[in-house]
Subunit: 280 residues, 2 copies
Amino acid sequence: MALTEISANKIFGGLQKVFSHESKTLGCTMKFGAYIPSQASEKQLPVIYWLSGLTCSESNFIEKAGAQRYAAEQEVIIINPDTSPKGLNIPGDSESWDFGVGAGFYLNATQDPWKNNYKMYDYIVSELIDLVNKNFNVLPAQQSIMGHSMGGHGALILALKNPGLFKSVSAFAPICNPSVCPWGIKAFTGYLGPKETGNWEQWDATELVKKYNRPPLELFIDQGTSDQFLFQLNPENLVEASKSSGVPVIYKQRDGYNHSYFYIASFIGEHIKYHKKYLV
Amino acid sequence: MALTEISANKIFGGLQKVFSHESKTLGCTMKFGAYIPSQASEKQLPVIYWLSGLTCSESNFIEKAGAQRYAAEQEVIIINPDTSPKGLNIPGDSESWDFGVGAGFYLNATQDPWKNNYKMYDYIVSELIDLVNKNFNVLPAQQSIMGHSMGGHGALILALKNPGLFKSVSAFAPICNPSVCPWGIKAFTGYLGPKETGNWEQWDATELVKKYNRPPLELFIDQGTSDQFLFQLNPENLVEASKSSGVPVIYKQRDGYNHSYFYIASFIGEHIKYHKKYLV
């Protein structure tokens, strides 16, 4: 599993790198970002994974979130993968911005023509984390996850489906209940088949949280009150559902903030500090 | 001189806005960014102008520099104009990335076909500053200027040619001596004519600093040691030239940083704090 370094730029004392590798899981070349604080040359550091939203590649977060300053301060590595397989040219994969390329939804597709490649869930859980553990100076098992919008959905389901894998989870404006919103219905129908037969509940945080048992996990949900996509996100559904299983939720509403990276940049420091509390 | 608000995004408690307006000086529609900290609703704030480098529009700085956090902390408005006239379709204006569109060099062209529109110097000194003073809640005459690469050159010549107009000036990786580097020679030859007849010394910080008299002005020059364009920049020429007129220079070299916005993001906070010291 060789990594190819695509770029390295010094920022806040560390290096913002981009790597590519041949993904066995996805059957294509994938890129991901890695911010490596300078302290990683001397000691093992914890890792936070960042999952991006619809249409994004690895570059949006790297260029716009301003996370490097806080990662340097908190001494954490940040890894941010791409949002879907790339370069496959599957018929229909580029016809809309909310399905196919840039819209992998962090699940494993079961439907043709997607099921052989659109396995972003397996890619992260079984391939990327392993790749990171083998190639970077990371503390064993000291990892957390966060994301935005579709990537917030991804962070939540990855944490809920893999108890104990991540020490903490947070999400900016996550798609909390994809089974009931237009983005989610379109994606799930395409990748998983109709709701009746597609086991959508396995990929929906609002459904998964009802069955979450242990170890203890807190959900940190961040939401701008002026988010133009709020009707897609349904945070209140997740907050309500989490009560049934006693999963604690921190639900922070940010007055006047929208769905953009301007919003993310304003609070990414708070999230990184939050995760660091859980990481040795 | 009406302003049209193109966008407004909340970030770090303030608003990152983009405006357009019809520029009389340039004869085209121009855009500029304006970060307005929340405090501007209660009191007048000082302004820092940011001038961007080759190929940039107003968006690069807004999205990549991470300046809003520091502007909010220091309670300063940041205004960042575009780098050249746009939308004119002058023959030859889009044939190369370092001349014409995106490469106005903050001077007043004297040569055809540029002289009627490529007057970025006059645009900033005579139009933009006036527009900002009339439309934003700014402290009278409390303004500073900074920039990057071609925009660093712009910040330096604007400050040196207008004694007292700016309280302070700083530059990231500025083109310090355009008369002797490939970028500068190409631009000056095209906009001003041959060196022998083009009065290049009027637009070259290394020449202008030799004649600078008063009021006292310090030049803050910031330079990455791994800058891939260092051969275009010649900071040592400016440092040496400033000795002849006794203009003090703070010359900070940043180990391992290159020419990118990753470098700018790492030190923009330091620059904003520096300027704030000079602003009431």
